[in-house]
């Protein structure tokens, strides 16, 4: 896959054609397919997206070695939050229900006591993912939004918010870890089953989801947390 750093003058269609991982990013920015020959910059301008921010996300996503230190200062916190919230919505409304259906189908096709347990495992996992995302959506992100508001209004202190990003950092556990268990079970331990490719489809989905979650966590750890720490220093 590509390990190039993408610039504003690259055609967005080229990026997507070369690396399908870029596909999941489009809806998070409200970008629709039918891209034509427009460059990243042109598409961003049309959609009112900050080009630097878009490129930062694309590069974090597609290039695992890319570490964004220089660009961090210019990231608009509200844009970042909206990106993260859109990602959550995609997981909850698209990815998880789809995986849930596939696993249910697998259970129905393969009659084995272990598939019942597998489904149970996955349902438990979904509950954990929902909790994880809900905590961010309901506690951590609103705090960051409030903080950014305060800064914009140039208030010198944070009124009545008993929270700091260190709490988030501490609580930030790896929700992708259990996906490894699922992968091992399906790749190594379930006996061969006549399931019409469902198992393969589940695995591909799991791997894509895992990759997505890892990148998502990288963005939170390497972009969100450092920025919020800077903001916190400004007002304290």
């Amino acid at each position: 896959m590509t390990d190039i750093i993408i610039s504003g003058n690259t055609k967005l269609a080229d990026i997507v054609m070369q690396d399908p991982r870029a596909l999941v990013l489009l809806p998070r920015f409200g970008i629709e397919l039918g891209l034509g020959d427009r460059t990243v910059r042109q598409v961003c301008e049309d959609k009112n997206i900050n080009t630097d921010f878009f490129m930062l996300m694309v590069n974090v996503f597609l290039n695992h070695k890319y570490f964004p230190d220089r660009r961090l200062k210019n990231v608009d916190i509200d844009m970042l939050l909206s990106y993260l919230e859109n990602s959550h919505r995609y997981y909850l409304e698209e990815k998880i229900p789809y995986l849930e259906n596939l696993i249910e189908e697998f259970k129905n096709k393969v009659e084995h006591p272990a598939t019942i347990q597998l489904e149970k495992f996955f349902r438990q996992y979904i509950v954990e993912v929902r909790e994880h995302l809900a905590y961010e959506d309901e506690t951590a992100f609103p705090y960051v939004a409030a903080l950014s508001q305060q800064i914009k209004k140039d208030s010198s202190h944070l009124a009545d918010i008993d929270y700091h990003i260190g709490v988030f950092e501490e609580r930030h556990d790896n929700i992708e870890e259990k996906l490894t268990d699922l992968k091992s079970l399906l790749v190594k331990y379930f006996p061969p089953s006549n399931d019409r490719y469902i198992r393969i489809r589940i695995l591909r989905e799991l791997m894509e989801f895992e990759d997505d979650l890892i990148n998502h966590a990288r963005i939170e750890d390497k972009v969100l947390i450092p920025i919020v720490e800077q903001l916190e220093k400004k007002i304290s």
Binding site: I116, Q117, F121, E177, K178, S184, L185, K188
Partner: protein, 195 residues
């Protein structure tokens, strides 16, 4: 952990120089030299090194993969490059050491490569579980805590934890829920035990 480095390089000046620089790093318990490509396979098989610094003229691209197959554990290979070199060759290596690199730079590169070698925790991946590990697994998936398991099997909680670590490493499954599925698949427990 005993670590071995092999330096395979025809030029004596460069070879001795790399030996000297690697020794000063203090990370290897032994450093072997190979001056001629015909001795390469034999030396690697004999010493099972964690790392090889290799002059690319000793092998072609396929040969590099062959070398990796010679050892029981993962072996990192860094190319020794004199000047400009074909990108395709450079990309075959885990790291590239330029003859013009400073001592510090070479230290950093070798140190970085060593960190990438999977240590003892991945050296025995697919061994079957031991009888004791199976005992722990069965109780674990029935919902017992570490403490309860330790009382039942007359072992210390610390030992239970280390068994659990080994189980996770061998199976590549960490959560109790995942291990439960494994246990049912292998008929270690029945569905009634879990419900």
């Amino acid at each position: 952990m005993a670590r071995t480095l092999i330096i395979a390089e025809p030029s004596e000046i460069i070879r001795k120089g790399l030996v000297h620089i690697s020794e000063s790093l203090g990370l290897f318990s032994s450093i072997k030299e190979v001056a001629c490509s015909s001795m390469l396979h034999e030396t690697i098989k004999k010493h099972n090194p964690q790392m090889v610094l290799l002059n690319p003229s000793f092998v072609n691209a396929d040969g590099l993969l062959e070398l990796k197959d010679l050892t029981r554990t993962t072996m990192m290979i860094a190319g020794i490059i004199y000047s400009l070199y074909d990108d395709d060759i450079v990309s075959m290596f885990d790291e590239v050491i330029m003859v013009g690199d400073t001592r510090q730079k070479i230290h950093r590169k070798i140190g970085g490569l060593l960190e990438k070698t999977p240590g003892k925790n991945r050296s025995k991946p697919s061994e079957p579980l031991s009888a004791r590990e199976l005992d722990v697994l069965k109780l674990l998936v029935k919902g017992l805590s570490n403490k309860e398991i330790s009382e039942k099997l007359f072992i210390s909680p610390h030992t239970v934890i280390s068994h659990r670590k080994n189980i996770t490493q061998k199976l590549n499954i960490k959560s109790v829920a995942g291990l439960t599925v494994y246990a049912i698949l292998n008929e270690l427990i029945s569905m009634d035990d879990v419900q």
